[in-house]
């Protein structure tokens, strides 16, 4: 890869082409088929000239049109787990305890927050606070937007 290839030319056209070439009708369909991949991994699969953040932008667009934003927001946390908590929720949030890690949880939840569209940032912040105050069992790893706990934290949009 050379410098900044992902930002040369019309990346939106490029991204839609790549997804279509793989037999998907939308970027959302492509991403939903890989619910536990990180955004960067999704991008790598489509080519070295596609960036994860580009995929995310289109996912937000498509989710907004389809009124599936809450679902996308839940899925975004799953992708952040891949980046920061690949072994699942740590044994403890106390870094001095064996297997404990507060920073990586903070990073996963912080990334989730900053990748959430503005109307969802407050709910996402509250959800993160709830998770840290009442930690799920060690090893908890949501496998997709249908995860039960995630659905409680970020319920589907009102129709």
């Amino acid at each position: 890869m050379s410098d900044g290839d992902a930002w040369r030319g019309n990346w939106l056209v490029r991204l839609r082409e790549r997804v279509r070439d793989r037999g998907y009708t939308s970027v959302t369909a492509f991403a939903e088929a890989r619910p536990t991949a990180s955004l960067a991994e999704l991008a790598d699969e489509l080519g070295q000239d596609i960036a994860g953040v580009q995929i995310h932008k289109v996912l937000v667009d498509e989710a907004e049109r389809n009124h599936k934003m809450a679902r996308l927001v839940r899925g975004t946390l799953v992708r952040k787990f891949r980046d920061w908590l690949p072994q699942g929720w740590p044994a403890s949030l106390d870094p001095d305890v064996e297997g404990g890690d507060r920073f990586k949880v903070a990073a996963a939840l912080g990334g989730w927050h900053s990748y959430s569209p503005i109307p969802y940032r407050d709910p996402v912040k509250r959800a993160g606070d709830i998770l840290m105050a009442n930690p799920p069992p060690p090893g908890w790893y949501p496998k997709g937007p249908d995860d039960e706990l995630l659905r409680m934290l970020i319920p589907d949009d009102e129709a």
């Binding site: 050379s2 960067a40 903070a106 990073a107 503005i118």
Partner: protein, 431 residues
């Protein structure tokens, strides 16, 4: 010990981060050791009231010039240590390498600076001995000699002291030629003293002292090759170097070991050191005959063993000029509007946020905006800055205490991967 030793230690370590970290610390310690050796010699010379400290103090400025190099050498080593520590804690392989690459010019500057300072100390010792023992050699002539030598040393030393990657690389690649010139100057001075001594009764003692200095000097490797064997041409080019299983050979002599070559090859391929700098180090090791040949490429076999290849050349180009990026604006990945925030969290000195810039063409920034009506931000770099700061603040609030530099760079590494911005840092400027 030079950066060659650094290179060796860096790669002698296991692939684990812990091993690399320890290796870097050992390497920096070794470089500190050679700085200390020069510092001790300079201290001894500075305290002298006879010899170089006599003759109304006209030579003390030359000793002071040597001592003046010590702060930046120590600073470069301290900076390398700080960067290596952060690299070891960042927990992201790409970022770890990127930070080690930021330390690369410092390590190279300190290593080549140490070599140059050691040579300068050799000249000071020679002058001191001549002033102490050789009244037959004119003080005025010695002053002129020292001034001429200093003029040779100053431009390269200043470039190394700047620690600017491009200036360091230029100085390092020109070092073999400079070392050749300095070796010639040292030989000429020594021969001048010897000729002046002829006819003086007690001259043998003085000449022996001069010989002794020659033998202990940093340049003795070069002198051991003098004079050339009868009938042999001195025109031995770099092409005479041969890569063999035991290392790089110059005739019967091993210039560097195969292990050294393997180590340097890995560092070159990782982008921590550049191929031209590695070649310069090899030439310095090859000694005077090689240094005299400023042109002349290394043979292909040797270049290949040093890690030459399209990938490495491409890396070099994207880091510097070429690939259309030379004039592209530099952008701080740690937003400089928040410089104070980063300073509070340890980004100062060698870790200054100015060290962590990337080049991005204007068209590329604007492309990030293209094709959508985003809820998530504006344009690069504004979008980047907003997202990164918002993310870092949220993470810090979640963590409940200040983020460390390696944690911040870990977050930035994750974002750079999401934006697919290559982790090649170049220093930027305040602005």
């Amino acid at each position: 010990m030079s950066w060659l030793g650094v290179a060796l230690l860096l790669c002698a370590a296991s692939p684990s981060q812990e091993g690399t970290r320890q290796a870097v610390h050992r390497a920096v310690d070794d470089l500190k050791g050679s700085t200390t050796t020069s510092a001790n010699a300079l201290g001894r010379l500075a305290r002298k009231t006879a010899g170089i400290g006599g003759v109304n103090g006209v030579f003390t400025r030359y000793v002071a010039y040597g001592s003046d190099q010590l702060p930046w050498l120590r600073g470069a080593l301290g900076g390398s240590t700080a960067l290596a520590e952060t690299a070891a804690q960042v927990g992201n392989a790409d970022m770890e390498l990127a930070i080690l690459r930021v330390a690369g010019p410092r390590l190279q500057a300190a290593s080549f600076g140490n070599i140059l300072l050691a040579v300068w100390v050799d000249f000071l010792n020679l002058a001191d001995t001549v002033l102490d023992n050789c009244p037959f050699y004119s003080v005025e002539r010695l002053l002129v000699d020292m001034k001429r030598v200093q003029q040779l040393v100053v431009p390269s030393m200043a470039a190394l002291a700047s620690q600017d990657p491009e200036r360091v690389e230029a100085a390092a690649t020109a070092m073999p030629e400079l070392m050749g010139q300095l070796t010639d100057e040292f030989g000429a001075l020594r021969n001048g003293v010897r000729r002046a001594a002829e006819g003086y009764q007690r001259s043998m003692v003085a000449a022996q002292i001069v010989e002794m200095i020659t033998m202990i000097s940093a340049m003795k490797m070069s002198f051991s090759q003098m004079p050339p064997p009868p009938g042999a041409s001195v025109a031995v080019g770099a092409g005479a170097l041969v890569m063999e299983s035991g290392g790089v050979m110059l005739g019967p002599r091993i210039v560097v070991s195969a292990e050294w070559m393997e180590t340097v090859r890995r560092l070159v391929q990782a982008g921590v050191i550049t191929l031209p700098v590695a070649s310069a180090a090899l030439r310095i090791n090859a000694g005077r005959l090689m240094m005299a040949q400023t042109g002349g490429d290394l043979p292909k076999g040797v270049r290949d063993a040093l890690g030459d290849g399209p990938e490495v050349r491409g890396m070099h180009e994207t880091g510097k000029a070429g690939a259309g990026m030379a004039e592209a604006p530099r952008h701080h990945v740690l937003p400089q509007e928040y410089r104070a925030w980063f300073e509070q969290r340890g980004f100062k000195g060698p870790m200054d946020i100015d060290q962590f810039c990337v080049r991005m063409e204007r068209a590329q920034h604007e492309a990030i905006h293209g094709g959508g009506d985003w809820r998530l931000g504006r344009t690069w770099p504004e979008e980047w800055n907003q997202n990164v700061m918002s993310e870092l603040r949220t993470i810090e609030s979640n963590k409940g205490r200040m983020l460390t530099p390696s944690e911040i760079l870990g977050v930035v590494a994750d974002e750079m991967r999401s934006y697919k911005i290559p982790m090649n840092f170049i220093p930027g400027r305040k602005g």
